[in-house]
Symmetry: C5
Subunit: 355 residues, 5 copies
Amino acid sequence: MSRLVKKRSKKIGLAPGTLVHLGTPRPGSTAVELIEYGADHLEQRKLDSLLQCSLPKPAPSVTWINVEGVSQVEVLQHFGECFKIHPLVLEDILATDQRPKAEDYGEYLYVVLKMLRLNEASGQLQAEQMSIVLGENFLISFQEGLEGDVFEPVRLRLKNDKGRLRQTGPDYLLHALLDLIVDNYFLILEKIAERMETLEDELIANPDEGTVQAIYQMKREMLFLHKAVWPLREVVGRLQRRESPLILEENIIYLRDLYDHTVQVVDTMETLRDMLSGMLDIYLTSVSNRLNQVMKVLTIIATIFMPLSFIVGLYGMNFKHMPELEWRYGYPAVLIFMAVVVAGMLYYFRKKRWF
Amino acid sequence: MSRLVKKRSKKIGLAPGTLVHLGTPRPGSTAVELIEYGADHLEQRKLDSLLQCSLPKPAPSVTWINVEGVSQVEVLQHFGECFKIHPLVLEDILATDQRPKAEDYGEYLYVVLKMLRLNEASGQLQAEQMSIVLGENFLISFQEGLEGDVFEPVRLRLKNDKGRLRQTGPDYLLHALLDLIVDNYFLILEKIAERMETLEDELIANPDEGTVQAIYQMKREMLFLHKAVWPLREVVGRLQRRESPLILEENIIYLRDLYDHTVQVVDTMETLRDMLSGMLDIYLTSVSNRLNQVMKVLTIIATIFMPLSFIVGLYGMNFKHMPELEWRYGYPAVLIFMAVVVAGMLYYFRKKRWF
Amino acid sequence: MSRLVKKRSKKIGLAPGTLVHLGTPRPGSTAVELIEYGADHLEQRKLDSLLQCSLPKPAPSVTWINVEGVSQVEVLQHFGECFKIHPLVLEDILATDQRPKAEDYGEYLYVVLKMLRLNEASGQLQAEQMSIVLGENFLISFQEGLEGDVFEPVRLRLKNDKGRLRQTGPDYLLHALLDLIVDNYFLILEKIAERMETLEDELIANPDEGTVQAIYQMKREMLFLHKAVWPLREVVGRLQRRESPLILEENIIYLRDLYDHTVQVVDTMETLRDMLSGMLDIYLTSVSNRLNQVMKVLTIIATIFMPLSFIVGLYGMNFKHMPELEWRYGYPAVLIFMAVVVAGMLYYFRKKRWF
Amino acid sequence: MSRLVKKRSKKIGLAPGTLVHLGTPRPGSTAVELIEYGADHLEQRKLDSLLQCSLPKPAPSVTWINVEGVSQVEVLQHFGECFKIHPLVLEDILATDQRPKAEDYGEYLYVVLKMLRLNEASGQLQAEQMSIVLGENFLISFQEGLEGDVFEPVRLRLKNDKGRLRQTGPDYLLHALLDLIVDNYFLILEKIAERMETLEDELIANPDEGTVQAIYQMKREMLFLHKAVWPLREVVGRLQRRESPLILEENIIYLRDLYDHTVQVVDTMETLRDMLSGMLDIYLTSVSNRLNQVMKVLTIIATIFMPLSFIVGLYGMNFKHMPELEWRYGYPAVLIFMAVVVAGMLYYFRKKRWF
Amino acid sequence: MSRLVKKRSKKIGLAPGTLVHLGTPRPGSTAVELIEYGADHLEQRKLDSLLQCSLPKPAPSVTWINVEGVSQVEVLQHFGECFKIHPLVLEDILATDQRPKAEDYGEYLYVVLKMLRLNEASGQLQAEQMSIVLGENFLISFQEGLEGDVFEPVRLRLKNDKGRLRQTGPDYLLHALLDLIVDNYFLILEKIAERMETLEDELIANPDEGTVQAIYQMKREMLFLHKAVWPLREVVGRLQRRESPLILEENIIYLRDLYDHTVQVVDTMETLRDMLSGMLDIYLTSVSNRLNQVMKVLTIIATIFMPLSFIVGLYGMNFKHMPELEWRYGYPAVLIFMAVVVAGMLYYFRKKRWF
């Protein structure tokens, strides 16, 4: 549950723009990578720290600074002043429980969203906050932790492919990064769908309480996913409506494409949720069916043996004058009578389709 | 479930516009058919391949190119360049998990939707993606597979009927194709409704777990249908609002008609969904009723035989001094007493309406 | 169910505007009635057939042509050409599964809606499609069948009352017809409410499976009603917003009144639906209560007689050395002991409020 | 139920504006009260009948005519002509099943809403329709019955307080009347909330079927309340947006205040509804818990006594050769053995937390 | 429940603007604190009473008057006249059941919202109404009670930090106060989440009726929270859209930030609600699972012992001629036979996975 409600209490009473890191501190210090590129040049280097205030080259050169690990408050503060980023943005970068959103600060655009990871072992989703500041000729991406990212394909495309990515502005780089993150959502949905399939087979073959708890855990993961993905649709929708001049006219078409993907993610997520509900219904129906079955077995047993027990009890009475007890064939007669009773009842149950 | 979430992971990290085929590869290669027609001429021929870059004749002649099987990436790429179709469109044509949508690319309009087929044997719905590119004097339709289509009636109307279809632009052809696809949805809904009727009769006559699983499967098919049909309403709605000049004023009325049909499909679908829910409720009510019935039988049996067993047990005790045992008519007296007890209880149950 | 999904498959592949009759063919041929009226004249006559192309007199005279039975395709076609009605409208008149709608064709307005009838015997709702074409100086109403209509009061008002109905245009006649149809919905809702009341009394007095099936059937009728009534609100809403010049400014007030009635119908329908759900909940609660009751009876019986049976079994054992069996008052002592046990258990159950 | 669907069938086929009284005829005839007031004068008198056509004095004098009992059709008709009230408005005044609404007729404004009363004995809500016609210098209020109203405080304020109510136009009087009616809703909600509290205590202490039926009846009352209150929000919202010049700019602020109150009423109503649902859930949970309890008791009893009965039955067999029967301490041994069995089972149940 | 519906009945019939205190009277009298500050001065003093009509210094000096305890009607009235606050505002300040709202009175802005407190012992939420009047150069905050507030951090920032808070207008002070209140909501959500976690662990380890009642109580608290928080989103949304000139352009960015926080609060609240529903579902599932378990135990016991009891009863019959009774090894044979029966049934149950 702690994943769903983060501790904000540290921040109570502080002035807005005061930098406080929220969330589990990730190990290690900050790693900074800088890539400067244009149609015909590309330079990539690791920065020692954010304290170097290296301003980006003028357009059309594009500078991409990728910061991993945002827990060091002072470093970020210095960096923010350097790039004239508003303290409120820096605050949001550090407070890693942001709802995905896009905000236009005139000189730059601030986009925040979630990068998801599915822990294969526990089946839990893990989210890492990703903040992106898009300026006229630069893009800075802040990742919450150091555990690597999903951006390797973009780095490769920047190096090898001299296509559109190298020839247009940083807004296209923004598209490339968002696209990778959204594609990653598809990957996660695929894995969840696979697990759901396994669960469903189990549900039909041999449902037990473990199955139903797995369904509930999955339902909770969907809640977590929903919280991360749902607002993203609105974010990309706003970018694609080109409310900021930082988004070039010519790249709108790509953002529209990205928007379609986001809508598809949301759609698929809703479908998976509907299916989970369906699975729970199936489980409950089968539980109530089995209860019925058990009750029928009990009733059949009781209905057969209670009359028999009565009959044998009857002839176990110690009355002096019970003529049947004296009969030569009293015992076999009673046995035969009881067999008839049993046969009659079995016939009755069969007719009632009880077994 | 795999039908609901397609594998998109192949595409992660690729530049937008990179052509990758998503979905099950359909057998066979690509089949291309070209129909050029106007008010007084019509030519129909099979093209060997998409590699022939045969540009359409100028208006008012209309060229309809129908491509079946879109899995060959290179061919499609060549074809796309030929007609100046944007790589993002080509990408969408290949990625066969598109959500129905209509996009205006200025020079042409891109419409994507689903052609459905109901597998009679398994009762499963199967979807084939249909992409349509509508230009000023041409229309290209891309079908996902080679398994035939539902367009035969349009071909016949083109050949035989010299009416409106031959005299107006390709937007009317677009209407004709969409109309057929939507009519096909009605056909599928009819079949589903019939099957639902059968299920319902079963539900009343003789419900078992098979019935309820059939209901759940049908619910899932409705989910699948919903995903294909719901966005279509918006697509046709946009076309009918004539947001693109490629749609002629005079044909709007037909698109409005088509829009009405789409709304009707959605309406009918919702009605069927409501009925499915109702059927599940009936099933659950009848299960709980039957449980009640079974419990009553058990209770009646126990209530009748437990006292009787107690009585016969009583006179089976071996006390030395039990005066009743010595009585002349003790045995028949006990028998009569037990008969009275049974009659009394039966009367009580009858009064309580237990049987 | 067939009432909810009509066979549209006949129409697949036909050009739009091709006339095909959908729905059950109603008996008999077409009956046509023509009423021409103005402030000071009124002429009413039966037409032999629709083939007479009698154009209406010029305004301010109003011509009302009422056509009953629309299954004869050729006749309708001729008639349509005569009045210059668009083939798509004729198609909709014949396809009797239209969703209520209002369409503006410039020269005339096309309104389609449902006339409902409650079959008293089976409790089923039956719908008849009513199409109305409103021109500048004429109104044509097409009824699906010949089984009579609800318009008699309008005919009487036309004949006897020389008020507003005779002095204004055909749009007021449209209002009068729609008003009658909507008033008829109130009548049907009243009858449904009455039947619901009966059902409810049954539910409290003596609920059985018949009651619950009656509730489900009523729920289905509400679904049917909903499909017919819900879109009507939007239809009348559009008329009342006066989107067409065929609606006179001075009559808007009456359409607004009609709109209020439609909203009230929808409101009442929703209330009835809520009450039906409530009734189902009551049924389920009472079923589960009765199950509890039955279980308690069973438990009380078992709890009383099992110990007793054990005791009498105990003294039915055949051990050589069982001192109690020899006692003088062993038997009455056991009887008294058992009475005490029973009394104790009854006291316990009473305290637990089990009966 | 009759309270939810009123008989409209009387009105079928009548021309709009034909006056027919709907609803239960209230006893007695019509009572009319007239109050003429201005900043420095106030005259109050009872009118003998509505037939006196006393037109209001010119502004700034304000005339308030309060009519109780609207079932006399002819009188109302005369009155309506006198004040030039549209027949449709008179029709609505008589048809006492109106949905709350506000209509602008240019010269005057027509507002209709419900005055509620909670019958303390039966717990049923009763509604009385209140129609208000607001002109430039007059306000006429029509009450459905003669059973008194909630307006006494306004009369007192008019007489005693020479504040705003005496100095501004009739729109402020309208506000005062509406305010009283809405305040009355709060009173009713308070009473319902109190009753709910009582029910809730009962639900926890000692729930029975009476409790659940009280909950369902309360749910139905909420349905009734919802129907009366929900549309009122929209009505006051329209008044407060000042769509009519009859509402003075300076009084808008008071209508805004009234609107806030209406929103609060709706809010509170929704909260009470949510709580009712919660109470039903608690009831169902406790029923299913009790079923569990009963089943456990039964199972414990059966599990303890069935083995014991078997053992005593065993030694009740009549085999010639049963060595145990001959043993000196056979009987006490069996008793001890059975005690051990019982102790073992009780220990097992305790461990399983069955009691 | 009394917390959800406050007694408004006191106010019925009073003229709008009549001051009546609603809600529990809080102990003690009114405490007033006045802080006057600018970029370079700050004066803080306690006022003896509200009767001193000390008007604020002109801008850019800002005056913050914080009033704790609003139950003294006369004092407030005097104060209101002094600051020319509209009587309707004063009325709302006293009626402590306001729905959060923001109203623009031209000269000043009136904001009302709820300050929440979580009673650690009872787990109940308590709300205190907070009214804020924002003028051009002053801000007055009215708290319902004297129990302290959450504003201490703002006072400290005013004293120590000479930043933005001291240099800009009272609208930024408004932001600071709202921000604290919203931060406080996060704190409460955190605590609720923690308690939910505890409950959840209990639910899995050892669910009983106490657990389910705790869940229902928490559900009710969420209802209460929802009522306080949901309208706040709209309030802050309106402030941030800068509908009043009292909000400076330069501070909009901070209100936007606050709006984000409010959205996050609402989001988190919805997530917690979803989780509560999930927990109830888990409880109900586990109850029905346990019922199944109990039924199985009962059925196994009955199925094993009923046949055995029948067999021993059989050989307890007193027939003269029962050959088995005479056999030498009759008794051990029966014992062995019964052991076989038990083994068979256990095998059957094991195969059916009943234990």
